[in-house]
C-alpha cells in the first residue's frame, strides 16, 4: 500500500517536472524563432534568392515541427490541471 502510493507520487512529480520543462521550451521557442529570422540581417553580401528561400522555409519547418512536438508533449489536460497557478 505504502509503496504503491509512493511510486504514484514519484510518477506525478515526474510528469509535473516534464510539463514544466515543456512550458519553458514553449517560452523559448519564439525567441529562437526571432533569432533565426533575424539571421538575414547579418548577411553582408547578396545571397541568391533561392538559397534564402530554402533557409527561410527550413527555419519555418523547424519552428513548426518544434511547436507540434511541444504541443503533443504538453497534452490537452496539462494546461487546465497542473498549471493554473504556474504563472
Amino acid at each position: 500500500m505504502m509503496t504503491s502510493k509512493a511510486s504514484e507520487y514519484v510518477y506525478l512529480e515526474r510528469r509535473r517536472y516534464r510539463t514544466r520543462r515543456v512550458i519553458e521550451a514553449l517560452k523559448v521557442l519564439p525567441v529562437l524563432g526571432l533569432i533565426l529570422i533575424g539571421v538575414p540581417l547579418l548577411w553582408t553580401e547578396g545571397v541568391k534568392t533561392s538559397e534564402a528561400m530554402i533557409y527561410f522555409f527550413s527555419v519555418w519547418m523547424v519552428l513548426v515541427l518544434a511547436a507540434i512536438w511541444l504541443a503533443r508533449r504538453l497534452g490537452a489536460s496539462a494546461i487546465e490541471k497542473t498549471l493554473e497557478t504556474d504563472n
Binding site: P30, P40, W43, T49, M53, A71, E84, N87
Partner: protein
C-alpha cells in the same frame, strides 16, 4: 459563354454556397449538433482571415517588387503563434473569463471599464480598418477588370464603381444576416466562422494550385524553378535590415491588435486548448500560402509583358497561359480572401461601435433603465446592423474617393501601423498591474497622432489631406515637424520611421503617465483580475448588491439576452442559491455573473452602467472601497492594539514574577540579617552579662580584677556601640536617606588624614605605606568625610589582615578622562576566589580572623561609593589584597587643579 459571364456565374454560386454553409452551421449549432464545428482545425482555419486579398494578391506583387520582404508579413504572426504561451494564452483566458467582445472592450475593461478609452480604440480601429476594406473592394474590382480585359471587353473600367458597390452590398448583407443573427453572450458566430473556414480552404487551394501549375506546368520542376528564380530580376536577396525588423514586428503586433484578428483569435475561441493546435497549424497554413509566392512572381515577371500589374500575377499568369479554369479558381481565392476579411472586420467593428458608441449614448438618452419601454435587444441588433452597413459603406466611400488607384496598395502596412498603437496598452494591461487608464489613454493618443501625421496623412498622394509643402518643409514651416523626418530623425524608410517613432513614444508616454498617475479602485481591481488571470477566480468583484430588485434585473436581462436565455440564467442562479423559481437573491456573485453575461452583448462598460442603474446606482464607488479599506484598517489597528496589550500583560506578568522572586529573596536575606545581627549583638551582650554578674555576685574581688572586668565590659559596650553605629550608618546609606555633605579638598590631604587616623593606637613602623605624592595633586569636590571613611576602612583592613612579614600598602592614584581610580594594594596573601564574591556582603568576615570588626566595613564602603556615583571592586591578581576605587570625573575639581600644578604642597 465568355469568361466574364462564367466568372459571374461561378461567383454567384460561390456566394450562394457560402450562405448555405453558414446557414447549415447556424442550424446545427442551434440544435446542439455543432460539436464538429468546435474543432481546433476550424479555429485554425478561421485565423486565416489574416490573409486578406492584400496578402493573396499583394504578396506576389510585393515579391515582384522587393523580393523576400513579403515573408515578414507571415513570419511575424508565426512567431506570435509559436510563442502562444506568452501572450495569446493569456489573452484568450482573459477574453473567456471576462467575456471580452473586442479589442476596445479588452482595453476598456482592463482600465476600469472606461468608455472613453473604448471610444478611442474604436475610432482608431475604424480609421485603421476602413482603408483596408477599401483595399479589398479594390482587389475584387481589379480582378474583375483583369478578367474582362482577358475576355476582350473594355467596359469594366467604367464599371469598377458598380462592381465595388455590388460587392460591398453583398458583403454587408451577408454580414448582417449571419453576423447579427443572434446576440450571443459569447459573441460567437458559428455560421460566419464556418464560412470563413471554407474560404480559408478555398484560398489556400487556389494559391497552391496556381503555384503547382507555375512550378511544374510552366517552369518544369523544382530545380528549374530555383534556377529561374536566381536568373530573374529578384535573383539576389537584398534584405533591408530596418524594414525587415520593423515589418516583422509590425505584422506580429498587428496579428494581435487587428480587430478582425482579435475577433477570431479571442472572441470566437471555443476552447483554450485549440490554441495548442493552432500554434503549429497556423504557421503551416501561412507557410503553404507563401510557398509559391516567389515562383509565381518570377514567372509573372518573365512571361508577362512589361508594365503588367504584379499585384495581379496570381490571376494573370494562368490567364496568359490560357488556363481559364485555374484563373477562375484563383479569382475565387482572392474573392474569398477579400470577403472573409470584410465580413469579420465588419462584425468586429460593429460590435465595437454599437457597444462603445451607440449603446452608451442610448443608455444616456433614454435614461437607460430596463423598465423603460423598448427592447434593448432590438436596439443592440439594430445598432450592429447599421454599424456593419456603415463600416462597409465607409470602406466603399474611401475606395470611391481615393479613385481606387495605386495609392491603395501601400495602405495595408499603413493600416497595420495604425492598429498596433493599441499594443502597449494591451500588453501593459495584461502584464503590468501598474498600468493606468490615463497612461493608456495618453500613450494611445500620442501614438495615434504621430501615426496620423507621419504615415497616414502623407500616404494620400497629391496632398489630399496634407499639403506637399508640409511634407517637404514641415508643419508651420518648422523643419523638425516634417512628417517623414519628425524631430529631425532623417534617413529612415518612411514606414520604419513612423513605426519606430509612434511605437516608442506611445510606449514611453504610456509607461511614464502610468507611473505618475493613480488608478481608480475599479481599475486596480480589474488590473489584478487581468494580470493575475490564472490565479484569480473568474469572479468579478463589482457590486455590493442587496438593494437590487431581481425582477427589474430580470426584465432588463430578458431584453438584452433574450427571454429564454435570461430565464435560464436566472433559474440556474436561483437553483445555486437554493431558491426555487426564477428570482435569485441579487448577491454580489450573481450580479457579477449577470453583468458579465450582458457584457457579452452590449460591452462591459454599458453592462456595468445598466446594472448600476437598476440596483439603485450602487456600483462600487470610491467611497465604498474607501469604507472597506477603512474598516480593514480599523480592524488592523484593533488587532495591533490587542497584540500590544497582550504583550504588555505578558511583560507585566514577567515583572511581577521577578518582583516576587526578589521579595522572596529579600525576605530570606532579612531573616538571615536578623539572625546574623542577633548573633552579633548577643556575643558582646553575653560577655557583658557574664562579667557584670561576676562583679555583682562575687564578693571577694581584688581591685585589679574589678578593673579588668569593668574594662572588659566597657570594651564590649564600645564594640556594641560601634556595631550599632555601623548598622545605623548602613541602614541610612541603603535607604538613601543620607544627604551628602559636599566640600572641596585635595586628595593628598585626604589620604594623609586617613593614613594618620589609621595609625592611631598602632605601631607606625608595622606597615609601610607607599604613595606617589605627585599623582595625588588632585582637587576633589565631593563628600570628603565619607570618602575618608572608605579610605580609612581600607587602610585599617590592610593593617589588620595583611599577613606578610614586612607588610606594605601601596596606594596608587590614576586619572583618566572619564574617571579617577585609587588602588589600595597590600603584599599579603590576598583574598581567595570564593571569598572575593562575599567580602562586600554584610557581616562577611573572612577566614578565621578574629579582629573584632562586625564585617560591615566593606558593605558600608560600597554603599558610600554608590552614593558618590563611583564603585569599589576587588582587583584580583595583584600579589595581595587589592581594592580599586573608581570615582567619576565629575568629582575632580578642574579649576583648582591647574592652580595645584604650579603650587607645590
Amino acid at each position: 459563354m465568355t469568361p466574364l459571364n462564367l466568372l459571374i456565374l461561378v461567383c454567384m454560386s460561390y456566394v450562394v454556397l457560402l450562405f448555405l454553409v453558414a446557414f447549415a452551421a447556424e442550424r446545427a449549432a442551434l440544435r446542439g449538433r455543432g460539436a464538429w464545428m468546435s474543432q481546433p482545425l476550424v479555429y485554425t482555419l478561421s485565423l486565416s482571415v489574416y490573409c486578406t486579398a492584400w496578402t493573396f494578391y499583394g504578396a506576389v506583387g510585393n515579391a515582384a517588387r522587393s523580393g523576400l520582404e513579403f515573408l515578414t508579413i507571415y513570419l511575424g504572426p508565426t512567431i506570435v503563434m509559436v510563442g502562444w504561451w506568452w501572450v495569446l494564452r493569456k489573452l484568450v483566458r482573459i477574453g473567456r473569463s471576462q467575456r471580452i467582445t473586442s479589442v476596445a472592450d479588452l482595453i476598456s475593461s482592463r482600465f476600469g471599464k472606461s468608455n472613453l478609452l473604448a471610444v478611442c480604440v474604436t475610432l482608431l480601429a475604424v480609421i485603421g480598418t476602413t482603408p483596408y476594406i477599401a483595399l479589398q473592394l479594390q482587389s475584387v474590382t481589379l480582378s474583375f477588370a483583369a478578367f474582362a480585359e482577358a475576355g476582350g471587353l473594355n467596359a469594366p473600367v467604367t464599371d469598377s464603381n458598380a462592381t465595388a458597390i455590388w460587392v460591398a452590398s453583398g458583403l454587408a448583407l451577408f454580414t448582417i444576416v449571419f453576423g447579427t443573427r443572434n446576440l450571443d453572450v459569447n459573441e460567437r458566430h458559428y455560421g460566419v466562422v464556418m464560412a470563413i473556414a471554407v474560404e480559408a480552404v478555398v484560398k489556400l487551394c487556389a494559391l497552391l494550385a496556381v503555384g503547382i501549375f507555375v512550378v511544374w506546368g510552366v517552369s518544369g520542376g523544382v530545380s528549374e524553378t530555383l534556377q529561374r528564380i536566381d536568373a530573374s530580376a529578384i535573383g539576389m536577396a537584398e534584405i533591408h535590415g530596418g524594414r525587415w525588423a520593423a515589418l516583422t514586428f509590425l505584422s506580429g503586433a498587428a496579428f494581435l491588435c487587428l480587430p478582425r484578428m482579435f475577433q477570431v483569435l479571442v472572441v470566437e475561441n471555443e476552447d483554450e486548448s485549440h490554441l495548442q493546435t493552432a500554434s503549429w497549424a497556423f504557421p503551416v497554413y501561412v507557410m503553404l500560402i507563401s510557398l509559391f509566392v516567389i515562383p509565381i512572381a518570377v514567372v509573372g515577371l518573365q512571361t508577362l509583358p512589361e508594365g503588367s500589374n504584379p499585384d495581379l500575377f496570381v490571376l494573370t499568369v494562368p490567364l496568359s497561359q490560357g488556363r481559364d479554369g485555374l484563373a477562375i479558381l484563383s479569382f475565387l481565392g482572392g474573392f474569398s480572401s477579400a470577403t472573409s476579411m470584410v465580413i469579420v472586420a465588419a462584425i468586429a467593428l460593429s460590435t465595437m461601435v454599437s457597444n462603445h458608441i451607440v449603446m452608451p449614448i442610448w443608455v444616456r438618452v433614454t435614461g437607460g433603465g430596463a423598465s423603460m419601454s423598448g427592447d434593448v435587444r432590438n436596439v443592440v441588433l439594430l445598432a450592429r446592423r447599421l454599424a456593419i452597413a456603415g463600416v462597409v459603406f465607409l470602406g466603399y466611400l474611401y475606395f470611391y474617393l481615393s479613385g481606387g488607384g495605386a495609392a491603395l496598395t501601400s495602405i495595408g502596412l499603413v493600416s497595420f501601423a495604425g492598429v498596433v498603437q493599441v499594443l502597449p496598452a494591451m500588453l501593459g494591461g495584461i502584464f503590468w498591474r501598474g498600468a493606468t487608464r490615463m497612461g493608456a489613454l495618453s500613450g494611445l493618443l500620442c501614438g495615434f497622432l504621430i501615426w496620423l501625421f507621419t504615415l497616414f496623412l502623407p500616404s494620400f498622394a497629391g496632398g489630399v489631406f496634407l499639403p506637399d509643402t508640409v511634407v517637404q518643409f514641415g508643419l508651420f514651416g518648422l523643419d523638425w515637424l516634417r512628417p517623414q523626418a519628425l524631430f529631425g530623425i532623417e534617413g529612415l524608410d518612411p514606414l520604419v520611421h513612423a513605426v519606430l517613432l509612434s511605437m516608442s513614444i506611445n510606449t514611453l508616454v504610456f509607461v511614464l503617465v502610468s507611473l505618475i498617475t493613480l488608478p481608480s479602485p475599479l481599475e486596480q481591481l480589474q488590473g489584478a483580475q487581468f494580470v493575475n488571470v490564472y490565479q484569480h477566480s473568474t469572479q468579478q468583484k463589482s457590486w455590493s448588491g442587496g438593494v437590487a430588485q431581481s425582477e427589474d434585473l430580470m426584465v432588463m436581462a430578458q431584453r438584452i439576452l433574450g427571454a429564454s436565455e435570461a430565464q435560464a440564467l436566472f433559474q440556474s442562479a436561483a437553483a445555486r442559491q437554493g431558491v426555487s423559481g426564477y428570482l435569485p437573491e441579487p448577491s454580489e456573485e450573481f450580479l457579477a455573473e449577470l453583468e458579465r453575461e450582458m457584457a457579452g452583448s452590449v460591452g462591459a462598460a454599458t453592462a456595468h452602467a445598466m446594472v448600476g442603474q437598476i440596483i439603485g446606482g450602487t456600483p462600487v464607488t470610491v467611497h465604498d472601497l474607501m469604507a472597506v479599506a477603512d474598516e480593514t484598517a480599523q480592524m488592523k489597528v484593533y488587532s495591533t492594539e490587542l497584540e500590544k496589550k497582550s504583550q504588555e500583560l505578558a511583560r507585566t506578568a514577567l515583572q511581577l514574577r521577578d518582583a516576587n522572586t526578589k521579595l522572596t529573596q529579600l525576605s530570606v536575606q532579612k531573616d538571615a540579617f536578623l539572625s546574623q545581627i542577633s548573633h552579633e549583638l548577643r556575643t558582646p551582650m553575653s560577655s557583658i552579662r557574664a562579667f557584670s554578674e561576676i562583679l555583682r555576685g562575687v564578693e571577694v574581688l581584688s581591685p585589679q580584677e574589678q578593673v579588668r572586668y569593668a574594662s572588659i565590659i566597657q570594651e564590649e559596650t564600645i564594640r556594641l556601640t560601634r556595631l550599632l553605629d555601623d548598622l545605623l550608618d548602613l541602614s541610612v546609606l541603603e535607604n538613601r536617606q543620607v544627604s551628602l555633605n559636599v566640600s572641596t579638598g585635595s586628595l593628598r590631604d585626604l589620604l594623609d588624614h586617613s593614613v594618620a587616623m589609621a595609625r592611631v593606637g598602632r605601631d607606625a613602623a608595622v606597615m609601610q605605606i607607599q604613595r606617589n605624592i605627585a599623582d595625588e595633586r588632585i582637587w576633589l569636590c565631593t563628600d570628603l568625610d565619607r570618602l575618608n571613611q572608605v579610605f580609612l576602612n581600607l587602610i585599617v583592613n590592610a593593617h589588620k589582615y595583611c599577613d606578610a612579614a614586612e607588610p606594605k600598602l601601596q596606594i596608587t592614584v590614576r586619572q583618566s578622562a572619564q574617571q579617577l581610580t585609587i588602588d589600595f594594594i597590600d603584599n599579603g596573601s590576598g583574598i581567595s576566589n570564593e571569598d572575593q564574591n562575599l567580602i562586600f556582603e554584610k557581616f562577611s568576615r573572612i577566614g578565621g580572623h578574629e579582629s573584632g570588626g562586625a564585617g560591615l566595613g566593606l558593605a558600608i564602603s560600597r554603599e558610600i561609593l554608590q552614593r558618590l556615583q563611583g564603585d569599589i571592586t576587588y582587583l584580583p591578581g595583584q600579589n595581595g589584597a587589592a581594592f580599586r576605587i573608581r570615582l567619576p570625573e565629575s568629582v575632580v575639581g578642574g579649576v583648582a587643579r591647574t592652580d595645584l600644578s604650579s603650587t607645590d604642597y
